[in-house]
């Protein structure tokens, strides 16, 4: 009897000990994953540049309590990862904190610039002007963005009124470029190649292709003429067909070569403007974090 009681007591002791240890550990785990720890860990990951995991930590904190600062960091993380669509979406969620709301609006404008959606960028700047007041620096970004898409530019004097000093001279050059870009004419290139095979390609700065086209067309034309003169009609037509193939292809190719040349000119101009803007952080102050 006594032995049975002892055995039962031992079993109960083991059972309660196990339950006790389990509760103890689970409580510690709860403490470990509390909001402040997750925020601290998220901040650490954010500072280390591990943005994807930082977002996970911040989002898990936000699921229980809203915090505009953390939301701003989530949006910034997406921006720094180059996911500008998501960063815009996350920046739009910040409403309560007036200071962060203003920063979020500016960062959204920066994200639209990175995406290359300059129409919405200008709309957002206009909204900012209405809600936050006029900003001279944003006016500059607004006017620079007009150079980057197919928008109509205002009168030169009106356009330049936003700038002064050395920047005014620079933007004046850009304005002139945009009004009259140094493009070449595809039709002119095609006509040149029709007159002298390869000349249109040389006009499009593709000298090697131009000389090759001239030699190929010339060679097969010569062979065709020679065969016809010697009454070898079949081979004459064969060479004539090959000559026509290169001749017509070169006329067509000269026009497309000029189009590609123009695309390159436009690309380089846009890059120059963007480089200038990026050097100045798009005229929008960059938010500073403790770890920056």
């Amino acid at each position: 009897m006594i032995a049975n009681v002892l055995k039962l007591t031992t079993y109960l002791f083991i059972l309660f000990t196990l339950i006790g240890i389990n509760n103890l550990f689970s409580q510690e785990l709860d403490n470990l994953f509390n909001s402040s720890n997750r925020t601290a860990f998220g901040n650490y990951l954010f500072c280390e540049g591990d943005y994807l995991r930082a977002i996970d930590e911040f989002k898990s904190v936000l699921s229980s309590e809203w915090n505009d600062s953390l939301q701003f960091k989530i949006a910034t993380s997406y921006y720094r990862m180059g996911q500008f669509d998501k960063s815009i979406y996350e920046f739009q969620k910040i409403e309560a904190d007036i200071y962060l709301n203003k920063l979020a609006k500016l960062e959204s404008i920066r994200s639209f610039y990175q995406i290359g959606d300059y129409n919405i960028l200008r709309d957002q700047i206009n909204v900012y002007f209405i809600t936050m007041g006029e900003s001279q620096k944003l006016s500059k970004l607004y006017n620079y963005s007009l150079l980057l898409d197919s928008s109509l530019l205002p009168e030169k004097s009106v356009y330049l009124s936003h700038f002064n000093g050395e920047e005014r001279n620079r933007i004046s050059e850009y304005y002139d470029w945009k009004i009259k870009p140094p493009y070449k004419n595809p039709t002119k290139a095609a006509i040149m190649s029709a007159l002298v095979p390869g000349l249109g390609k040389i006009y499009a700065n593709e000298v090697g292709d131009g000389i090759t086209a001239f030699l190929l067309t010339g060679l097969f034309t010569y062979l065709a003429v020679d065969k016809f003169q010697n009454n070898h009609t079949a081979s004459g037509w064969l060479y004539a067909s090959i000559a026509a193939f290169f001749y017509s292809g070169n006329i067509y190719g000269s026009a497309t070569a000029v189009q590609n040349y123009n695309a390159g000119i436009k690309f380089n101009f846009n890059n120059k403007v963007k480089f200038y803007l990026n050097e100045r952080d798009q005229f929008i102050p960059i938010p500073k974090y403790l770890c920056d």
């Binding site: 090697g208 067509y252 590609n260 123009n262």
Partner: protein, 145 residues
């Protein structure tokens, strides 16, 4: 009681244990590396247009024996098929004639083309359709996917 426990253990073991009906043997592993960005030469199984058959015939009879020597991506034969399918036969042929001339460049002056991940020069059909809007201009420093 002991017998019941013994039966439970044996039964559990039998149900969870891994079956061994398939004879173990050497696994068939393919160690060949895929060349990224270079398309399959033959696609007649999915498309059977005369042009595709012509291109497959060229690939089988000439290209495979001669080697993949075209410096461009897509290759000249693929460029022709793509150009015709995206435009029409006449325009596609003109695009191909131009590409063939550029491929035959005696001076090998190809410095204005960006590089494709396959290591070839990237020269897509979009840039030769006579539409400004379809042209995608890449910096020559860019490695195109």
């Amino acid at each position: 009681m002991k017998i019941v426990l013994f039966i439970i253990i044996i039964f559990t073991n039998l149900t969870i244990a891994q079956t061994d009906w398939i004879r173990w043997g050497k696994a068939e592993v393919d160690y060949s590396l895929e060349i990224e960005g270079v398309e399959d030469n033959y696609n007649s199984e999915t498309s059977s247009s005369p042009l595709t058959l012509l291109k497959d015939g060229y690939s089988f009879l000439i290209s495979d024996l001669d080697g993949n020597n075209c410096p461009f991506y897509p290759t000249c034969s693929s460029f022709f098929v793509e150009a015709v399918s995206r435009t029409n036969f006449v325009k596609g042929t003109l695009m191909f004639a131009d590409r063939f001339t550029r491929d035959s460049n005696l001076f090998k002056s190809h410095e204005h083309y960006p590089t494709h991940v396959s290591g070839k020069l990237y020269d897509p059909t979009e840039n030769y359709q006579l539409h400004d809007s379809t042209i995608i201009f890449y910096s020559i420093e860019k490695l195109v996917n």
